[in-house]
């Protein structure tokens, strides 16, 4: 994760929200599952009460039944004790389960909400945030919440109620003796507070060191062939050892504190019991208010109070960790989603005509314009080829017309018989059902061919016939049938298909959807010649019968266009048919002479990874 990504997720100048307000907002996710949570919370006093009851039974036995030799009374007490134990076990199990169930369901919903939101974030957001950091918001940060909900918040609540009820019971039994035992409380407070805080800091350091080490490991293993081919094994190993040492060092320090805290609690528990006996002894021997049974009960209580206190600090830490995660998650959720607009079908009668006037656009508000006053028309069914060198703005044009990027100036009118509709007034999702952009890099999902063509569109997904027909239109039917048909699994990022076949699938998506306006960013990376011919024929099929803006690299495609727009530095320098422009001998003719093929190097003037959907981390290890 780069520094830029984390800082852009946090709004500058806003103070970090308090843990409480973060948790309160979180309640909105928990609300649907509140029955489980309330049920679990309601069980807490019951569990605490039952566990406070046990020592009282013990006290009764020691003070009454045993001295009086009442064997029957003792049996009754024994049975009551066992019943209380079973009841406590069941109540506590049900309570824990209910809270965990409510917690996990809440987490699951939160993850879904984050995922759904990220899918709707604008392309600019993706430019500024590494996908890795978005992924960790959706998985690791949410997992940190899970830890808190499952072990933190509610167990702390349980512990507090438990300790409270024990202290109350102790006070009721004997206030003076309770006060004596409570003298250790300030010591405990100091220990938990300072040791706990120090321990937490160290644990944070340990986690950071671990993350660095694991991250390094992951990258070296992904690029292991490069490491091996370049003989970098020893250097990598040394670096790994260095990162490991840092980890080891922090761990050892944390370990010392942890051991000390653990032992202190253990020792103080025994110490307090001794202290109590020391002060209670005179009263017991002189037949005072303190009975032997009372001492038994106190010993039992004291043994149980220290356990939860010991873990207090750790649990508080998980809550703090969770609030850091929550802050990051909210930062993401508060990012505005893609712009809205008309959802009513204003484009019902649109036939693909658009009128672009003085279109200007820049990626960053302080950046240069990449489109500088472009005007052209597209008639229904017209094929327009856009050509230009890298950085001329031709890819940007497609991104603006599909509302991947908002904030253009000038006007883009979708001309319909019912009147013009301004592009920015249309909801993006609605618009993209009519205007389909096919990018250079075909992105395939790890699923079968059917899914990759339908992309889950409910109308298409269930209709094998339409999918097959779409493959047929782009002449991919034979290739796909050879592979195993619609059910063929294309593999991760389409690893099981050649790049030509992947292109054909992308075209089949178009054929299945029949958009009114197609924006085609032609791929440059050439494929083998047989597939290449198929790809060209498929493109020609797609160009027929609809309005098309094709960002063209192949001469064959350009010659098929009705008109050619030549872009240079964000401006249209020439417009006309191939023959006209060749005759003119201007910029276009020059380009043709120099060879049209443009690399897939992203527009140089665009922000660094503006190809939304570009394949990230292409380094695979497959043969």
């Amino acid at each position: 994760m780069s520094d830029a990504s984390s800082s852009s997720l946090r709004k500058p100048g806003v103070a970090p929200a308090s843990t409480w307000s973060l948790l309160r907002r979180f309640w909105s996710f928990a609300r649907p599952h509140r029955r489980w949570i309330w049920f679990g919370v309601a069980m807490i006093p019951l569990v605490a009460g039952l566990s406070t009851l046990r020592p009282l039974l013990l006290k009764a036995a020691i003070d009454t039944e045993i001295p009086e030799g009442d064997a029957i009374g003792l049996r009754v007490l024994g049975i009551v004790f066992l019943v209380a134990v079973v009841a406590e076990f069941l109540c506590s199990a049900v309570q824990v389960y209910a809270l965990q169930r409510g917690g996990h369901a809440t987490i699951s919903d939160t993850r879904r909400t984050v995922f759904a939101h990220v899918l709707r974030l604008p392309a600019r957001f993706y430019d500024n945030n590494a996908i890795g950091s978005l992924l960790s918001r959706t998985t690791s940060d949410i997992e940190a919440l899970s830890e808190t909900l499952a072990f933190g918040v509610f167990t702390i609540l349980t512990d507090v109620v438990m300790i409270g009820s024990i202290v109350v019971a102790m006070f009721v039994l004997d206030a003076q003796l309770t006060l004596i035992t409570i003298t250790v409380a300030p010591v405990l407070y100091v220990l938990v507070r300072y040791f706990g805080a120090a321990l937490r800091r160290l644990q944070l350091e340990v986690r950071k060191a671990q993350a660095a080490q694991t991250g390094f490991l992951a990258e070296q293993l992904t690029g292991v062939t490069v490491v091996q081919l370049f003989g970098r094994e020893q250097a990598a190993l040394k670096e790994y050892a260095r990162l490991g040492e840092r980890n080891l060092d922090a761990t050892k320090r944390a370990n010392l504190l942890d051991a000390l805290l653990f032992s202190l609690m253990d020792g103080i528990s025994a110490f307090t019991i001794a202290l109590m006996i020391y002060f209670a002894a005179p009263s017991v021997t002189s037949g005072g208010a303190i009975t032997l049974g009372l001492l038994f009960a106190f010993v039992d209580y004291l043994q149980r109070v220290f356990g939860p206190i010991k873990e207090f600090s750790g649990k508080l830490a998980t809550i703090q960790r969770a609030s850091a995660s929550l802050e990051r998650i909210y930062g993401l959720l508060d990012e505005p989603a893609e712009g809205g607009g008309a959802t009513a079908d204003a484009l019902a009668h649109w036939r693909g005509a658009i009128r672009v006037r003085d279109l200007r656009f820049r990626y960053k508000s302080d950046g240069p314009d990449v489109l500088r006053g472009i005007s052209f028309d597209v008639a229904p069914g017209e094929v327009i080829a856009v050509v230009g060198r890298t950085g001329s703005g031709k890819s940007s044009l497609g991104r603006v017309l599909t509302r991947f990027y908002d904030g253009y100036r000038g006007s883009v009118a979708l001309v319909t018989p019912d009147g013009d509709v301004e592009l920015s007034d249309m909801a993006p999702a609605e618009l993209r059902r009519r205007v389909l952009m096919v990018q250079q890099d075909v992105f395939l999902f790890d699923d079968d061919v059917a899914y990759n063509v339908s992309l889950g569109d409910p109308e298409l997904a269930g209709d094998r016939h339409r999918l097959e027909r779409a493959l047929e239109v782009v002449q991919a039917d034979h290739v796909i049938a050879l592979r195993g048909g619609l059910g063929f699994a294309v593999g991760e990022r389409g690893a099981n298909l050649s790049s030509g076949e992947a292109q054909l699938i992308a075209f089949a998506r178009v054929a299945a959807r029949e958009p009114t306006l197609l924006i085609l960013d032609e791929a440059t990376a050439s494929v083998d010649s047989v597939t290449e011919q198929k790809v060209q024929r498929a493109i020609e099929t797609l160009l027929a019968g609809r309005s098309v803006i094709v960002i063209a690299h192949r001469l064959s495609t350009i010659r098929r266009a009705d008109r050619i727009l030549v872009l240079r530095q964000g401006e249209i320098v020439e417009m006309g048919t191939h023959d006209d422009l060749m005759a003119k001998g201007g910029a276009y003719a020059e380009m043709v002479a120099a060879g049209l093929d443009e690399g897939e190097i992203a527009d140089a003037d665009a922000s660094p990874d503006s190809d939304v959907g570009a394949d990230v981390g292409a380094a695979g290890v497959a043969p």
Binding site: L82, L217, T225, G231, A259, V284, D597
Partner: protein, 606 residues
């Protein structure tokens, strides 16, 4: 089981002194831990006898009871010291073992070859190297402690209980024994589920990553709803498993503690009866209950850690002992000048497939000459290159460098003489500069160790400048935020495919070795750049700055191969044509046909 222990003992041997001292501290701890309940019982027994003693010896009893209380306080302080010591002494070696294991695992992984990495996903290996070593650490640290607990603490508890009362010991141990047995079984089940949970989380992450990476495609096709459904499948699956884990956690895990309470009930009932019968002091009941509590907590932590650690240890041991599948090194190889390369009847079939990926290839490249390899996707070009660079081990007697069969030489010797650009360029998340000068320094150490402010201006490196020019990278670098010092790779600025390829090319040129292998490195660059790169590579060949390297260049574009001294044309793994560019064009075969086609796409027919 014994294998696991022998494996761990090998690692633990170095920390013997710590373990011996830790053992002493542990003995002291456990002695104090069982003494405390016994003293508690004694004190209560004394106080219980008050009625008989009230007549005159009350003061003496009181003094005695208080004496015991003071002894208890003293023991409490002792416990703090010795327990801390025992935990530090036992846990620290565990950490050190984890550290050493991690390094050994990484070293092993770095020595393993491509076929292994094809069989195992990186995520899975990372899980072994990080999660499993942690479990092993718990096993050697915690379990070291616990195993000794079993050998020392449990017998001491039992002994203390039995000396107090044998019959009562049997009474309260019966439920605890059942509880412990159940716990052992449950913990195993629990960790299997936790492991499944981690795998499902990984699958969920894969899906999220795929969706975020493909968000452009999802958006263009308005497929958000379907994507969300696909996400829901995995998310729901994960939730279901989490709920099953929760059920075990809430109903199964507390069973051992519950059995301890049942034992306490038995103490109350059976013990009470024995007190009534005059066979036991009332304070002994407190001793029993306290010992029981302490015993149950020991058993609980034992069950937790052993269940988790054993599985992990076997997995770690398996990975550490994975053979590298490399043939034995039989002779030294030193590639000092441009080598002669020979391929004799080379065939190779990938594991799990039946059709050979390359089939009966023969070729010979004289020192300093260039061999071109041409073919379409799937024709076996990359396989051939991977065999020449021994990413896959070729069959013996098929590939020779300077007359030495490559399988008889060591990988290090062979690779020391070559610079390779693999088909999928890989950049590390370090500065671009470090990625290119990879061969000279550890990129990571240099890139990360120094904070930005302290980084002195880089020393001028004429070789680097020359390489950047040759790879046409200068314009790209000028546009990066920090130029050559920009961090690239997954955690840095994402470069385009063409930029990545040229950076990888620059890296190989910088390495400057007598054998240069370029696997389809110009696939993602445009025609103009391609021409410049080809010219740069040719300039290299013509011997600028030293002798020309022997070069192997793979491409599906004829324009890249024109200048090669010989071109092999592959189709379905077989050699179908061979010759110079001119000769191949005259043959009017696959090569000539593709050439005509590719040229036609460019400018010639305009």
């Amino acid at each position: 089981m014994t294998g696991t222990f022998r494996f761990l003992a090998g690692y633990a041997r170095r920390n013997l002194v710590q373990y011996v001292l830790g053992f002493a501290a542990l003995l002291a701890t456990n002695y104090a831990v069982v003494r405390i309940p016994a003293l508690l019982g004694d004190a209560l027994n004394l106080l219980e006898g008050r009625s008989a003693l009230l007549e005159g010896r009350g003061a003496a009893v009181l003094a005695q009871a208080r004496g015991i209380a003071v002894e208890l306080m003293f023991l409490a302080v002792v416990v703090i010291a010795v327990r801390t010591l025992s935990r530090v002494l036992f846990f620290n070696p565990g950490r050190e073992i984890e550290y050493r294991l991690g390094i050994d695992l990484f070293e092993r992984l770095l020595g393993l070859q491509r076929p292994y990495f094809n069989r195992h996903k990186v995520g899975e290996l990372i899980s072994v190297a990080s999660n499993d070593t942690t479990s092993v650490r718990l096993l050697v640290g915690f379990v070291g402690l616990q195993v000794i607990n079993v050998a020392v603490a449990i017998p001491m508890h039992l002994w203390q209980m039995a000396t107090t009362d044998v019959a009562l010991t049997v009474w309260c141990l019966v439920p605890v024994a059942f509880g412990a047995a159940y716990m052992r079984w449950t913990v195993k089940r629990f960790f299997t589920m936790v492991r499944d949970g981690m795998q499902q989380l990984a699958r969920l992450s894969d899906r999220v990553l795929e969706s975020y990476s493909g968000v452009g495609t999802i958006r263009s096709h308005a497929a958000e709803a379907a994507t969300l459904r696909r996400f829901d499948e995995r998310n729901g699956e994960y939730l279901a498993l989490q709920l099953r884990i929760s059920a075990i956690r809430s109903f199964g895990m507390p069973v051992l503690g519950f059995s301890g309470l049942v034992g306490a009930g038995a103490v109350l009932w059976a013990g009470g009866n024995r007190v009534i019968a005059g066979e036991l002091g009332v304070g002994d009941l407190a001793t029993f209950t306290a010992l029981l509590v302490s015993l149950v907590s020991t058993l609980t932590s034992l069950a937790w850690v052993v269940g988790r650690g054993m599985v992990a240890t076997s997995r770690v041991a398996e990975l550490l002992h994975t053979p590298d599948e490399l043939p034995p090194v039989q002779r030294p190889l030193s590639i000092d000048g441009p080598p002669r390369l020979e391929i004799r009847g080379l065939s190779f079939t990938y594991e799990g497939t039946t059709r050979p990926a390359v089939d009966g290839i023969d070729a010979s490249v004289a020192p300093g000459k260039t061999l071109g390899i041409f073919g379409k996707t799937g024709s076996g070009k990359t396989t051939l290159v991977n065999l020449l660079t021994r990413v896959y081990t070729p069959p013996p007697g098929t590939v020779f460098v300077d007359g030495v069969d490559v399988v008889e030489a060591s990988l290090a010797d062979l690779r020391a003489g070559m610079a390779v650009v693999p088909q999928a360029p890989f950049l590390f998340s370090t500065r671009l500069r470090d990625n290119i000068t990879l061969a000279d320094a550890n990129p990571r150490a240099r890139g990360k160790a120094k904070p930005k402010a302290e980084r002195e201006a880089p020393e001028p490196d004429p070789r680097l400048d020359a390489v950047l020019a040759a790879a046409c990278l200068q314009d790209d670098i000028a546009q990066l935020p920090q130029g050559l010092d920009t961090v690239v790779g997954e955690r840095g600025v994402m470069l385009s495919g063409g930029q990545r390829q040229r950076a990888a090319l620059a890296r190989a040129l910088y390495r400057h070795r007598p054998l240069l292998v370029l696997d389809d490195v110009l696939a993602a660059v445009d025609h103009n750049t391609e021409a410049k790169l080809v010219a740069a590579i040719r300039a290299l060949r013509s011997g600028e700055g030293g002798s020309a390297p022997t070069t192997i260049i793979v491409s599906h574009r004829t324009s890249v191969l024109e200048h090669a001294d010989e071109i092999l044309v592959l189709d379905h793994g077989r050699l179908v044509e061979r010759g110079t560019h001119a000769a191949l064009l005259r043959q009017r075969g696959l090569y000539a046909e593709t050439h005509a086609h590719q040229e036609g796409q460019g400018m010639d027919d305009a």
